[in-house]
Symmetry: C2
Subunit: 370 residues, 2 copies
Amino acid sequence: MNAMRELSVELGERSYPIFIGEGLLEQAGELFEKQGIGKKSPVLIVTDEHVAVRHLDKLVDVLQRSGYQTESAVVPPGETSKSLAVFEDLMTKALQAGLDRKSTIVALGGGVVGDLAGFVAASYMRGIKFVQVPTTILAHDSSVGGKVAVNHPQAKNIIGAFHQPELVLYDLNTLQTLPAREVSAGLSEVVKHGLIWDSEFVQWCDDHGDRLLALDPEALGYALYKGCTVKAAVVSRDERENDLRMILNLGHTIGHALEAVAGYNELLHGEAISIGMVGSARLAVELGAPQEVLTVTKRVLSRVGLPVRLPEHLDTDRIMEAMMHDKKFLEGTMIFIVPTAIGQVEINKSVSTELVRKIVEQLKQEAVQA
Amino acid sequence: MNAMRELSVELGERSYPIFIGEGLLEQAGELFEKQGIGKKSPVLIVTDEHVAVRHLDKLVDVLQRSGYQTESAVVPPGETSKSLAVFEDLMTKALQAGLDRKSTIVALGGGVVGDLAGFVAASYMRGIKFVQVPTTILAHDSSVGGKVAVNHPQAKNIIGAFHQPELVLYDLNTLQTLPAREVSAGLSEVVKHGLIWDSEFVQWCDDHGDRLLALDPEALGYALYKGCTVKAAVVSRDERENDLRMILNLGHTIGHALEAVAGYNELLHGEAISIGMVGSARLAVELGAPQEVLTVTKRVLSRVGLPVRLPEHLDTDRIMEAMMHDKKFLEGTMIFIVPTAIGQVEINKSVSTELVRKIVEQLKQEAVQA
Ligand SMILES: NC(=O)c1ccc[n+]([C@@H]2O[C@H](COP(=O)([O-])OP(=O)(O)OC[C@H]3O[C@@H](n4cnc5c(N)ncnc54)[C@H](O)[C@@H]3O)[C@@H](O)[C@H]2O)c1
Ligand SMILES: NC(=O)c1ccc[n+]([C@@H]2O[C@H](COP(=O)([O-])OP(=O)(O)OC[C@H]3O[C@@H](n4cnc5c(N)ncnc54)[C@H](O)[C@@H]3O)[C@@H](O)[C@H]2O)c1
Ligand SMILES: [Zn+2]
Ligand SMILES: [Zn+2]
């Protein structure tokens, strides 16, 4: 077993630790206790059906052996569970389980479960404690930063709160059961964290793509540690998304539009973002960045099994419309996060929509072998 | 016209002013502007049907003349609008109105509208600006302190947040249309603020009961100013209800139980609290406080048209059960806010349930003329 890695998200009074390692579920009782999760009030574990069959019993067992009273709520897997209807069901469950103001809600799962359970914790009795136990690679992103939300039928993540967890407990063993496509999709945000902040780490990803895809615990632990470190650094400097935090949206302007146009089944979020990041790199080169920004971006994303070309059947007009529907649009120009070099980005508030259209067209021709 | 009164709720970065006066709706544009409510993003006014017919046009007109883009949402009157269903409708409305992160939600109405619209403002895009324009006397209480919430079918106010407004704008003229029963019910919390904090103000209420019931603007302005001052002082010292804020619950342990047992139509919240405060005063005397605590409490509440006797048909066993269901119960003893003198209370964490039962019985015999 590898050593446990630990880092801290620095937010003053609301600071909290992230623990990453193999077999950490077994230590959940001690780690919860160390972070001040009380045993007198019931704890509600929220998870989804896929995760429940694989990892719920272990967590329940460990916590109960440590003296915690636990109740579990299992929601259907997938984005549709991030709804006010499921939110209300969980409130009912929390009431029935007798949760009080000293209780804690634990999210065991990917970003869907984390966002949903987090918003329940933010709102139940106007806010109770919350613990993230992420089980997807993507959730290294969603579990850090305190953004929690459910969807409205007309807009994603529009109903939510900022609610920081007491701790994040990342057991690498739980990731071993992830479907391959989810592995790659999650690595998309890992690579993103390198691209916006840390060129050495991008190089490392380039060198270790195979080991990451093979879920090698040492490589995975390091990559998640680095990804969380970047996310934590950005969030610490801008908790409520006023400014700097925008750089986390690298690839997301195009990415969100692709998700909307393709329908949420054809492209996973991480896949759409991957294509979006290639778009941002192309844009960067058009705006004067070195060619390398594009070639390295494409190469690293390909290494971890991600698409870099935009499916040709997706209509450019509809993609453009979806982007302008997004709030990042202002009178003929758009706001984009644009790389200036590998590991560095800037916020460009006046990218012309014409140039963006050209990039979208080019993305459909993108050579797959970089 | 009387002078405008102003006070400030001191909460560091989240501090905000309360303006109280006649005809303040006419000044809404300037006051909004002064508090930094932007004009570029749309403003959503939330109100209920009773208030809409009386006061909405004026507010819309004034704000639009000042250059604000406004949209209005009118919900059915009454506690049933504090539901997740109406919350979701308002989210839809906010999306349709194009509210963005710089938008503001304005609550024009009583505590129901304030709590509901406040939770929408707390959650829309993870929190946008919020203004309280209270139109009931009770709302001097609900509009100060930042507690916002909706109800769950099984529990009141269980789904919510702490979300402070940018300002509170109290136009005494809007109160002139209040039904008499709502006037008295609202004064119950005004008197409560005197009883927990300020004996001189209790004396003043005793002397000015008639003028308050007649909605005399000078008397009303002073009473609301004093009531808000006490609430603001308590909240400033304990924003998130860790300790001191509990004293605001004077009369509420018994009061909530009466509301639950009587059904929410027989007793208004303020009426139930009135009887509850008489109960607390009786308890105080039993525990050694001077007899005056009981006589003055009863007299002042009677002066403003409030009940001091518990309706005999309400079953004592059911009242006791409802109280124990409340979280303030711990192994044979209960937590009560107990007056030690007029204008002073203490938190007593070990009141025996037997003594409480005796008080409930006595409340049914309470002499109505003190
Ligand atoms: N809050 C934030 O800051 C933030 C950031 C990024 C993304 N998000 C949100 O995260 C969500 C996406 O997260 P996600 O990709 O983790 O999705 P997810 O939670 O739906 O998980 C993806 C799939 O993997 C399954 N799964 C999870 N863990 C597993 C395991 N260990 N073994 C086998 N199967 C497993 C799930 O059941 C699901 O089918 C989106 O809703 C997005 O909005 C939030
Ligand atoms: N957030 C808090 O700290 C806090 C504190 C106390 C109470 N509350 C909440 O406040 C609510 C009760 O508030 P309320 O008593 O103001 O109830 P309310 O908002 O329902 O108003 C009472 C009635 O008066 C009507 N009305 C309001 N203004 C009027 C006007 N100017 N003219 C004519 N009719 C008018 C309303 O339509 C309603 O029928 C409860 O839901 C309670 O939980 C919250
Ligand atoms: Zn993302
Ligand atoms: Zn009250």
